[in-house]
């Protein structure tokens, strides 16, 4: 296990190209253990692509990605699988298996990766359902019988099934009403603290950024700029200024000052 101050994810010199278009050019990023890091950027700056590349769903066109101190593309299939078990992913629309109930969805990672007794798994499933704030009845329901917010929670329960160390979230609050989004933010903050998670999320929700992130990574000009919200707000870059000091950002700051 790497020492605690070592970054849990280290991206070095990442290059991503689509045809002739370069999306990431020599991009570096460190994620520290136990932090909540948000990835932001305009459309087409490759936030989701970066996330998919870190997850190994897309081959990088150049550069290296290290997770838990191991370089991903140097690993055998077996080693890669055992590393993948140490992270959970919440996809944008939940990506719950529609032919399975919520409980069966959460059971999938247990069935594939562990040999626990059926009874213990059932208890753990109930526990995860409770952990993400779903009522216990939700376990027997199919995803199509759930509201958008409940689907996200169910998908989060599945992502948390194997007690991952890193949680990846792709636009966790997109499509939720402000109240549900706020609840979801609190849930993630709460889980991150009690389960000691490292969280990497793509988000556009300024409220989320202000409420729960430790640091923000802005994708700009094919590179990345990382800092806390107040550090970034002091930067002169026009996109960052517009992002944080535009009408939405200003409203948020006003609300925060008032609070």
């Amino acid at each position: 296990m790497p020492p605690a101050d070592e970054p849990i994810i280290r991206v070095r010199g990442l290059v991503t190209r689509f045809g002739t278009q370069t999306v990431h050019d020599n991009l570096d990023l460190d994620v520290r253990r136990g932090e909540i890091l948000a990835l932001v950027g305009g459309s087409g700056t490759g936030k989701s692509v970066l996330l998919r590349t870190i997850l190994g769903l897309k081959e990088p066109d150049g550069g290296a990605i290290e997770i838990f101190g191991r370089q991903l593309d140097a690993l055998s299939v077996q080693e890669r699988l055992s590393i993948q078990r140490r992270w959970g992913v919440l996809f944008q629309n939940g990506a719950l298996f529609s032919s399975l109930t919520v409980a069966q969805n959460i059971r999938v990672p247990f069935r594939e990766n562990t040999t626990l007794s059926h009874k213990l798994v059932n208890d753990l499933i109930r526990l995860k359902i409770q952990l993400v704030g779903l009522p216990q009845e939700a376990g027997a329901k199919f995803p199509s019988e759930l509201s958008g917010g409940m689907k996200k929670r169910a998908a989060l329960a599945r992502a948390l099934a194997l007690d991952p160390e890193i949680l990846f979230l792709d636009e966790p609050t997109a499509g939720l009403d402000p109240i549900a989004a706020g609840d979801f933010d609190n849930l993630i903050r709460d889980l991150q603290r009690s389960l000691n998670l490292t969280v990497v999320m793509v988000t556009h929700d300024l409220d989320t950024l202000a409420a729960i992130t430790d640091r923000i990574a802005v994708l700009l000009d094919r590179r990345i700029m990382v800092g806390t919200m107040s550090e970034l707000m002091a930067l002169p870059h026009p996109w960052i200024r517009e992002y944080f000091h535009g009408p939405r950002g200003r409203a948020l700051q006003a609300a925060q000052r008032g609070a």
Partner: protein, 368 residues
Amino acid sequence: MSRDGHVAVVDIGGEWTLPHAGRLERIVADVERTAAPSARIHLDKLQSLDTVGAWLLQRLIRRLENHGAAITVADVSPEHQVLLQRMVLPPARQTLSRPYVSALHALVERIGRSSIDIVDEAHELVSFLGVTTIALLRAVLQPRRLRFIALASHVERVGLNALPIVGLLSFLIGVVLAYQGADQLRAFGAEIYSVNLLGVSVLREIGVLLTAILVAGRSGSAFTAEIGTMKVNEEIDAMKTLGLDIMDVLVLPRLLAVVIALPLLTFFADLAALVGGAIMSFVVLGISLAQFLEQLQSFVNQSTFWVGFIKAPFFAVLIGLVGCYEGLKVAGGAESVGRMTTKAVVESIFLVIVADAAFSIMFSWLGY
């Protein structure tokens, strides 16, 4: 585990995490059996704890307490404490599975449901035919409504692009029929009549039926998948709010395209099958092309061809109608598109064969 007077001292240490869960379960069971009326649990040697470990610990504590033991937990680090506190489930366990239904009950229910579904489906399909007919009449009265570019592109996809596969398969069927016929008739010294057999079966039945089944599988399914995907993407809703008529924009061009393309493909298939048969007759029976044509002409007349050909537009209507109808019935997500596509293919092939049987009966009545 050790003893301190009456008090059992349980030392918990090491990694209480998912990879070790099997072993932990056994340890917990041991402790549960042997713990004294009171126990003190020490957690100072605990290195790591996740939800599995925390759940097992919490369960142990609760069960011991339920047996009347007095439990104290000592040396808990703050972050382990947070996790342990969350590991509480309500005592009444909600079942995780769907309510149980007996197999017989489920069987009866399924038979009932599908019977009702079939009747509903037939009813809706007939009303869809009605709606389409009205749209078609409207388009005839106002030809501007018809999308000629869409129509042409669909004719290309349904007809032109299907030429190779329809031609090849018909050719092969012609080869097979000629060979099988010759093989049987040779016993009677009547090989020459295999030409008659080929001509009649290809022109009356096989050419049009084979083409219709291929088009149902190739284009009927495509209609359902295309329209269904548009439905899932809310494109259909967008069209409606923009004042576009779904029947004019989506259904009529596809339906008319099959009605135009299927007869043409049928003609092509008939030719290909006869060519295949002629080649096979020459190879196996030594019947020259001239002999083949003469034999064919002496037995097969125009009405043989028309009896088969006239069925093509009717089959086309069935295929186009079912394909579009099932596409519009897609609801929900991608898996519904797949289900409806399968249904459209099965249904349209079924209807084509039923219609073919009906035509046979009708023609034998009429004396053709």
